[in-house]
């Protein structure tokens, strides 16, 4: 009896697990179909790198949910896929872009650029030129009336041979004194202004394909031929008029005499983005200023916030200090407001014309510092704001860390006659740095890339004169990168931007590894095995 019940139970369980397995496979198939469809669409649009990523994700998800061995990974399949797509792939892509000329005049892919170039036309010697008038129908089809140099007039329709113009035939109405039809059935004559602004008109090839007529200028239409032809086997572009050949060099079709065709296309240019920073003085000068300020800013920010935070925790660390709790809460205020908001508040307060700070300074001391136009005052202002933003964090961290230093050490030092000063430098600081050191590095990394502060408070200004791209005295690398990529008044340059990003990547990687070494985080992985 008992055994049959157990059998029944296990059979039930088996059926259940069979069912759940089937359900799982069904879901995997559905997800795969969706992913494959999306990948296919990516390929069709020419987004190959992204298509590769999606192929990997599809394979990964399928493998993980089919193979029992990969069971633990099922718990993190979505998270890992998202990480691959939005964290790892962007980093790799940035590295790739750093070695290309991606940016203004190199925004297109090679086929797109060739297509663009092949739209350019020229008038061959034997080609005929005409005066023209355009007619347009309701559904945006066109007829061109043309007159050649000998005074012969024709009607040109798309894909048909030219017709001579006779009033009353082919829907042509009466002619005016120049021989131009006043109306054609279903078509309206365009006045010169309308015709000149009609963007479609220049793209249409009227008449037979072999000697099609195209509108060239408001006064002339002509039997134009494509100026550039692309030769796929040799990968060259030939100018049909002059016979000059252009070969692709680093993303631009270039002739042997060095003439370049515009637009260029995205292409790998090797280390050019990196070397140009070292060779071009218009780039090198500002970059050197930005790098040195970046390091100084990050170091000073950490130093100042840490010092003030530590000073407060030592100074007011005595638990018997009256009003300690209230004091701590009030000093914590900067920490609790989203930093974007406080940065903007400071920007308003420090406005030299309408800000409250200069108003107070003016009435107290009769001074009104130009916080935003003088580069040194701007740097000081940034450090003040960052001190305000950052000290509560170190106040919290150090007050916790101070409590963990055993009292006996201090007592022993006191017995030995160490002064308060000595106790601080010989005991407190060294012991504190052991526990707070990694956080100092983290804070350095954070401030090194403190885009929000620089961008929102001052926008990197005041501008550095003579810089060939947008750059300011208070710009740090990351805000400089952002300007290159998104706010270039003189054009965007993703290649440059990415090249600098790589420099930051490497720096962060080194600092982080140092931080991990200090925290023993690597070893923690093995814990609790």
């Amino acid at each position: 009896m008992n055994t049959t019940a157990a059998n029944l139970l296990s059979g039930n369980k088996k059926a259940k697990s069979q069912f759940s397995k089937l359900l799982r496979i069904l879901i995997v198939v559905l997800v795969d179909v969706a992913l494959i469809w999306f990948t296919y669409q990516l390929i069709r649009n020419g987004f190959i790198p992204l298509a590769i990523v999606f192929t990997i994700i599809t394979l990964f998800i399928t493998y993980v949910f089919i193979r029992q061995r990969a069971y633990p990974l099922r718990w993190m399949a979505i998270g890992l896929s998202a990480m691959l797509l939005f964290s790892i792939f962007p980093i790799l892509y940035t590295v790739y872009v750093a070695f290309t000329n991606y940016g203004d005049s190199h925004l297109l892919s090679k086929p797109q650029a060739i297509q663009q170039l092949e739209k350019e036309k020229y008038l061959p010697e034997e080609g005929k030129a005409y005066k023209w008038v355009a007619f347009r129908s309701e559904d945006e089809s066109y007829i061109l009336w043309v007159e050649d140099v000998n005074g012969n007039t024709y009607l040109a329709k798309v894909g048909e041979p030219l017709q001579t113009v006779v009033a009353g035939e082919n829907g042509v109405g009466d002619l005016d004194d120049k021989g131009i039809p006043i109306s054609i059935d279903g078509y309206k004559r365009l006045n010169p202004i309308l015709a000149a602004t009609d963007k479609n008109l220049t793209q249409i090839r009227f008449g037979e394909d072999s000697k099609a007529i195209q509108v060239r200028s408001p006064s002339e239409a002509a039997e134009l031929l494509p100026l550039y032809l692309y030769d796929e086997t040799d990968d060259i572009i030939i100018n049909q008029d002059t016979g000059v050949t252009y070969i692709p060099v680093k993303g631009t079709f270039t002739s042997t005499r060095g003439e370049a065709l515009i637009p260029g296309f995205r292409g790998v240019v090797g280390f050019e983005n990196f070397t140009r920073f070292l060779t071009s003085s218009a780039l090198k000068g500002p970059l050197a200023l930005i790098v040195s300020w970046n390091f100084a800013f990050a170091f000073l920010s950490v130093f100042l916030t840490f010092s003030l935070g530590l000073a407060i925790s030592i100074f007011y660390g005595d638990p018997k200090f009256p009003g300690k709790k209230l004091l701590r809460s009030l000093l914590l205020v900067p920490y609790t407001i989203p930093s974007l908001i406080t940065i903007l508040i400071w920007r308003g307060m420090m406005n030299p014309q309408i800000g409250v700070l200069n108003n107070i300074l003016n009435s107290l001391f009769g001074i009104s510092p130009e916080w935003f136009t003088n580069q040194w005052l701007a740097k000081i202002a940034i450090l003040i704001v960052n001190l305000w933003l950052g000290y509560p964090y170190f106040m919290l961290v150090t007050s916790g860390a101070l409590q963990s230093i055993p009292l006996e050490i201090y007592q022993a030092a006191e017995v030995d006659g160490a002064s308060a000063w000595q106790r601080f430098w010989r005991i407190t600081l060294p012991l504190l740095l052991v526990s707070v050191g990694p956080l100092l590095i983290a804070s350095f990394i954070f401030n090194f890339n403190n885009f929000n502060l620089i961008y929102l408070f001052i926008g990197g200004g005041p501008p550095i004169p003579g810089a060939s791209t947008r750059a300011g005295y208070t710009d740090i690398l990351i805000s400089y990168v952002y300007n290159l990529a998104f706010e270039g008044g003189r054009g965007v340059n993703y290649g440059f931007a990415s090249a600098i990003s790589i420099f930051i990547f490497i720096l962060i990687a080194i600092l982080s590894l140092l931080q991990f070494r200090l925290t023993n985080m690597w070893e923690e992985v093995g814990e609790n095995v």
């Binding site: 993190m76 930093s339 956080l439």
Partner: protein
């Protein structure tokens, strides 16, 4: 002079020193407090000042009024409450999804032993040290390309922004969560497993309820971080009615239109207050999480 009276004198001067010290300390503290709360006080004052000027030095404005708050309600060019709603929506959804993803992943890292586990944990930690701001060009292009296939996840969509936020979900949080889970004895799982519970049941019914403290901390940190994000929202959202409140507040102060500091002050207060209240109520938990993990963004 006997040594005893010398000692007494010393005691006396020590006591005096102590009182004197406290007075000095409080004088310095007052300066610190002014430095710390001045911007907050000033923004409160400015928000009630109908003149919409920044220059007032008097703490209580001359004719205090709610004009700035009314401006937030009724201006179609600066739809403040629409932005606030966008922020709350985006932030809530990404926080919930982030929590789900991290908790499940942390469960696997804590409870299962598999090949590549250590390497993956290290890898996750290493990847997340690079701020996604650095690869923002790539993120921008990815969403552009997404959008040309499925419009709803492209540029200028909330869904697109949310999935970009999710890309950063696996990071420090997994370490915090896994560390916490490791402290839950595995005997609990084992006894449940003997009773025939599946992994999923153990996870949802046993482990998850025990995780409440760390879920609160990570949830709040994620919420505050996402809520305060500026640059991703600024770059990936394009149209006025899609913006988040942080992008919107920046618009109030940027020179594009004439700067509107009065409404900005009111808007800043409304959007900062919930976060401030959370911080002061849950100070200790949040600080515990922060000092173990990241620097505030």
């Amino acid at each position: 002079m006997s040594s005893y009276s010398g000692f007494k004198k010393l005691r006396k001067s020590q006591k005096f020193n102590q009182t004197f010290g406290i007075v000095i300390k409080w004088i310095i503290a007052v300066f610190l407090i002014v430095f710390s709360v001045f911007p907050l006080v000033w923004i409160i004052s400015a928000s009630f000042n109908p003149a919409s000027t920044l220059a007032t030095q008097t703490l209580i404005p001359r004719n205090p009024g709610l004009d700035n708050y009314k401006f937030l309600l009724g201006n179609p060019v600066f739809p403040y409450f629409k932005w606030l709603w966008n922020s709350i929506k985006i932030t809530t959804i990404s926080t919930i999804l982030t929590l789900s993803l991290t908790t499940m992943a942390a469960y696997a890292f804590s409870r299962f032993r598999f090949k590549g586990r250590r390497a993956m944990l290290k890898g996750i930690l290493l990847i997340q040290v690079f701020p996604n701001l650095l690869s923002i060009v790539a993120l921008f292009l990815i969403l552009t390309q997404f959008g040309s296939i499925i419009e709803q996840i492209g540029l200028d969509t909330h869904l697109g922004l949310i999935i970009v936020y999710l890309g950063g979900a696996m990071g420090m949080n997994i370490w915090l969560m896994k560390g916490y889970m490791d402290t839950i004895p595995r005997d609990i799982d084992e006894s449940a497993r003997v009773d025939g519970a599946t992994d999923w049941q153990i996870f949802t019914r046993l482990i998850l309820p025990l995780l409440r403290p760390i879920l609160v901390v990570i949830g709040l940190l994620t919420f505050i971080g996402t809520y305060g994000d500026f640059i991703l929202a600024r770059t990936l959202l394009k149209s006025n009615e899609q913006y988040t409140v942080m992008v919107g507040l920046q618009i109030y102060t940027s020179g594009m239109f004439s700067q509107k500091w009065g409404p900005f002050a009111a808007g800043a207060l409304i959007s900062a207050l919930p976060i401030m209240i959370i911080y002061f109520l849950l100070q200790d938990q949040i600080i515990g999480g922060l000092t173990r993990g990241a620097v505030k963004g």
